[in-house]
Point group: C2
Amino acid sequence: MRIVVVGGGAAGASAASRAKKLNPNAEVILIEKTKMITHGPCGIPYLVEGLVKSKEDLITYSPEEFERDRGIKVRINTQAIDIDSDKKTITLARLGGGSQEKIQWDKIIIATGAIPQIPNIPGKELKGVITVRHPAEADILKEEIDKANRVVIIGGGYIGIEMAEAIRTLGKEVIIIEKLDSLLSNAIDKDMSKIVEDELARRGVEVRKKTTLLEIVGKDRVQGVLTDGGEVKADAVIIATGIRPNRSLAEQAGVKLGKTGAIETNEYMETNVEGIYAAGDVAEKFHKVKKDKVWIPLAPSANKEGQVAGANAARGRTIFFPGIVGTSITKFYDLYIGSVGLLAKEAELYGYKPIEKTIKARTSAHYHPQGRTVYVKLIADEPSRKIIGAQVLGYSESVAGYIDVASVVIDKGMTIEELYFSDLGYMPATAPVWHPLIVAARVLSGGTL
Amino acid sequence: MRIVVVGGGAAGASAASRAKKLNPNAEVILIEKTKMITHGPCGIPYLVEGLVKSKEDLITYSPEEFERDRGIKVRINTQAIDIDSDKKTITLARLGGGSQEKIQWDKIIIATGAIPQIPNIPGKELKGVITVRHPAEADILKEEIDKANRVVIIGGGYIGIEMAEAIRTLGKEVIIIEKLDSLLSNAIDKDMSKIVEDELARRGVEVRKKTTLLEIVGKDRVQGVLTDGGEVKADAVIIATGIRPNRSLAEQAGVKLGKTGAIETNEYMETNVEGIYAAGDVAEKFHKVKKDKVWIPLAPSANKEGQVAGANAARGRTIFFPGIVGTSITKFYDLYIGSVGLLAKEAELYGYKPIEKTIKARTSAHYHPQGRTVYVKLIADEPSRKIIGAQVLGYSESVAGYIDVASVVIDKGMTIEELYFSDLGYMPATAPVWHPLIVAARVLSGGTL
């Protein structure tokens, strides 16, 4: 049996590994169009900032290690350009020339990831206009930023915020242009965005909200941007307006896309075409709270979906991916920002009757110096009392733990009362005796606790 | 209606507050034998170390604030010496003399906490032999330690370990005497104890395991201890061999004790005597994994039990305390030690068929400098696949978050597979893309994941 995996990122590498492990007799071929596999795009801001020294540090395994240790055939610098679903063939082209090759497959796993979504405006091809996506291109990105003094970031989402920290740390001027009225609008409500905006201001990052990019200005090299709020000068412009599924190969193969625009799969990661699976950022996921398909491209689910696709491709339906609850976390300097489940603003769209409360607390006992400020927002469905959303912002790494707890709470459909009575740990250095999540549950209960 | 609460610690103060809040017409009297209420004994090691400057910092509210802001009558320096369950009276004695007073009650909440358990050996009354329990006595404790150069700690449990850090930080010699073969034996298995022992050694704390204290030696003032392994010199000796429920008042009142030796209550925190409730360290708790009553005296459950007792005393059965899963956390310098559920060594006693795995991981992506080493041990019941225990040790505050996640996982009876597929958050600074808890679940699955 031959299993071809297209894409060497999180999902593809996991899929290939799992397939080979479960079916050592299968020939597993991993196709990657850059020269890197198991690459971590989430680490690019750290590379720009200089916390990570080399883009090679962002990979987990080299292609050689993958071949040698796992027995997987790895073809780097190779693009999959055509899948024939009936004849079960795939056409591969080596980058930089050479003839194409057509090979047979028994199973194919599409893990082609996502690509930056670039607004179709004048000037987007100017030198100094950059996107943040693949570690293989991170050197160019860093070079551009290193020589700039003033950087405009288009988009106040995760990538925009993380790049703002990296570039500000390098001592450069940073201006974020955001078309909406709040930042990180996929992850936090407007009230919580204020906390992020205050911190950006405190760190010297200028934010222009409700501002739409019209044009990138310059001759050959970028000189600034034109927005509906006027012109902003810049030596470099980062386009961080989002990403979209890299689905052209799937479309060409006749693989069905879902309403989100990403590949539709069932819980076994099977697509509508027999023998073709999809995993990772190119595929949509089932959201357990929304009870609907969503497109939330993040590494942890990509890895697990890859694993599920690889296992099922190798052995038939043996395992399924139950879905996500939309956990995400980022940081700006020491402000950690976590989110899970539904936002307050979207809860009604999914048929819930939301109630919400936000509390301000401390991450340690009041007398312990390790404590930092933390804000916890909980959203529940009033009739069922179930917690359906949480947003946690605070000046401590422990925000990650809070959001992970909330993730499990929401995943298991726990009520306000069940969260209140959960047995979260206490010691003066790591939590107040009333854990902030428990205080938030109590406040949200409206007096029953 | 008059509600009398005996004991001004976590449980008692919560009970009094909740009762008054829900029934503002009730007269609520809080009896406390020291001069402090809402005191936090968990902070005493920080006071000794000097991280916390004054014992007054360890309290949340002063008696005056409690009276003024909450309308509760607070009687400090007052001891409850007798409860008549039939006549519904309680006899109070003001410390330092004065006549006794007998008052009527409609409901009484016993929240008398716990007291140190001191082995009955020669020399225990010598000067320089101290216990760690009540913030009101913390000054004496600190004074004794400040003037000592070499301190022996009897008992390698939580208090022993936390005091070892505090005293070592002050630059003094510390020797821990532990009668068992491992440390923190209520919280971690022997294999995990090794990690703690290595850290103690690295920080210059001497540990003598399998060593039994026979006698405390000295004339008037302590000069050392005699053990079955020989004599150890010391200027001060801390007895940290455990605590026991402070139950004499309850016993005298005819309140039934459970098999653990603490007060038996139902989930409404009612005792066998009508009108008498118990909450906090003096009461036993239902352990959801052991499916049995246990005595695990910790502040978070004390607070909640107080709240439940207070609510029910004020309004009748309105709310119940569902029990605990045994979450606990401590630290020694930057080694954080968390535990929840069952230990591997005790799982069979409670009818489980345990399987266990321990992994070593990092708290961040491999390339992020914020990462620290963490060890995760998971214990599951093989037939049901449910996670029944977790121990997490690591050089990062984020251990607290891991153990809180495990607490909810165990509380909700999640299986290995459900934990594996849970949507824990990822960003390079706060977690590897495969969260250590998820890696541990995968390893524990034995190849199904």
